[in-house]
Amino acid sequence: MQTLLDQFFNISIMIKTMPLMLKGLVMTLKLCAAVILLGLAGGLLVALGNLSPRKWLRLPCIVFTDIFRALPPLVLLIFIYSGLPFAGVEISPFTAVVLAFFLNNSSYYAEVYRAGILSVPKGQLEAARSTGLSKAQALVHVVLPQAVRNVLPDLLSNTIEVVKLTSLASAVSFAELLYSANMARSVTYNASPLVLAALIYLVLLWPLVRLVSRFQRRLAA
């Protein structure tokens, strides 16, 4: 029992590695901000393309979402980080991570938006167009607010996945939370820093996970 505690919940090691971990946390949060905002924006564009009546626009968007839903994000990340230099494109870990997750998240957010837009009755768009609003105005003021409200739980749960996803950045030596924890582990020969990282993720995400569950129950009721 004592060995288990020493190995996983060593308080003094946790305290000693705290500054390093906090630095990692800051990087994680910065990465999250970039990746979530880009994903939300890119996903919206892809979703609109997905629903376009124009085939030349719709087809590439569908192919885009399908490919990036099928590719594991880590594979995409390694491909971009280790593969692109072979083509003469040098790329920093941060850029590689942001690019890989942008492609991955856009396709996931796009699917959520698409479901949301489809959930808005057609009459809403017609009513808006009948009052002389342009397609863009009808979309911005009438369709999208309702679409987003209808899929808010899914947007939130996807965002939780994005935060968890940023931990993969450690695989390309980007110094975020998990990378810092793993560094600390290899220096201290002790798993407590990893457990500390897990606790930080829990503090960050548990409230959001609860919120998603509450949303889902309300929708089911």
């Binding site: 809403q124 009948s130 009052t131 002389g132 609003l133 342009s134 309702q146």
Partner: protein
């Protein structure tokens, strides 16, 4: 009533695939006139109405509003034209995420570029006309069906349309709520609005319509004054339809 045509439908055709819904419709609605369209379901009357502001894209023919052909011109022209043609839907289609007031001001602000105070003032006038000024801050879900439909009428009127299209405006309402909507429509007619109405309210048609049009199978079978159509229909199909709805 002047004879200037406000809305002209010329040789209108509409096909869905191989299915022809409208087979060459010609109809003129003069300024200040209320034209009532009746006919069995599937006769194409709603489709015709929806072609009048190009919610449905006509397969052929022309739609002329206030002397301008809306089948030509740019997208911007189309949006401008739609401001002149108000439409009221069977299902109301109020925006559920906005208050009644915002429902009525949205297009005023975004399409007509009116200022917020100007749009609000205009909206309150219109809500006053339909007897719902006190509900301005409510959300659509807090209103009865009849109230929602009156707000939808106010939303269309606030844009100062030249013509109002009504697509079965009372069909989705409980019987006791129909009267309030019909009263608003009658007031509107008395103020001289040009109106094209698709509806099954035969009593209302008899009382208020200037002209009644009977459609069946994608064509206009017969048109005339309410007395002519309801009193002495000429076509056999009209007689059969009227006999059916009376019972």
């Amino acid at each position: 009533m002047t004879n200037r045509p406000m809305l002209e439908i010329v040789a209108l055709e509409k096909r869905f695939g191989t299915n022809t819904i409208l087979k060459g419709i010609d109809l003129k609605v003069s300024e200040g006139e209320l034209v009532f369209v009746i006919g069995p379901s599937g006769s194409g009357k709603s489709t015709m109405l929806r072609c009048c502001n190009r919610l449905e894209e006509p397969s052929g023919g022309d739609i002329i509003v206030n002397g301008r052909n809306i089948m030509s011109g740019t997208t911007a022209d189309l949006n401008r034209m739609r401001l002149q043609v108000g439409m009221v839907f069977q299902g109301f289609h109020l925006y559920p995420h906005m208050t009644v007031l915002d429902n009525v001001t949205l297009a005023q602000r975004k399409a007509l570029k009116r200022s917020r105070p100007e749009a609000d003032a205009r909206a309150m006038d219109m809500l006053e006309n339909v007897g719902l000024a006190h509900k301005a801050k409510a959300y659509p879900s807090e209103l009865s069906g009849g109230q929602q439909q009156r707000v939808a009428i106010a939303r269309a009127l606030a844009l100062d349309p030249k013509v109002m299209l009504f697509d079965e405006p009372t069909s989705a309402l409980d019987p006791e709520l129909v009267g309030s909507v019909l009263k608003v429509m009658k007031d509107l007619r008395d103020k001289g609005m040009t109106m094209l109405v698709v509806s099954h309210e035969m009593g209302f048609a008899r009382e208020t319509a200037d002209r009644v049009v009977f459609m069946d199978g994608g064509v206009i079978v017969e048109e005339g004054t309410p007395d002519e159509i309801f009193g002495a229909p000429k076509a056999e199909r009209t007689r059969a339809f009227l006999a059916r709805v009376k019972n």
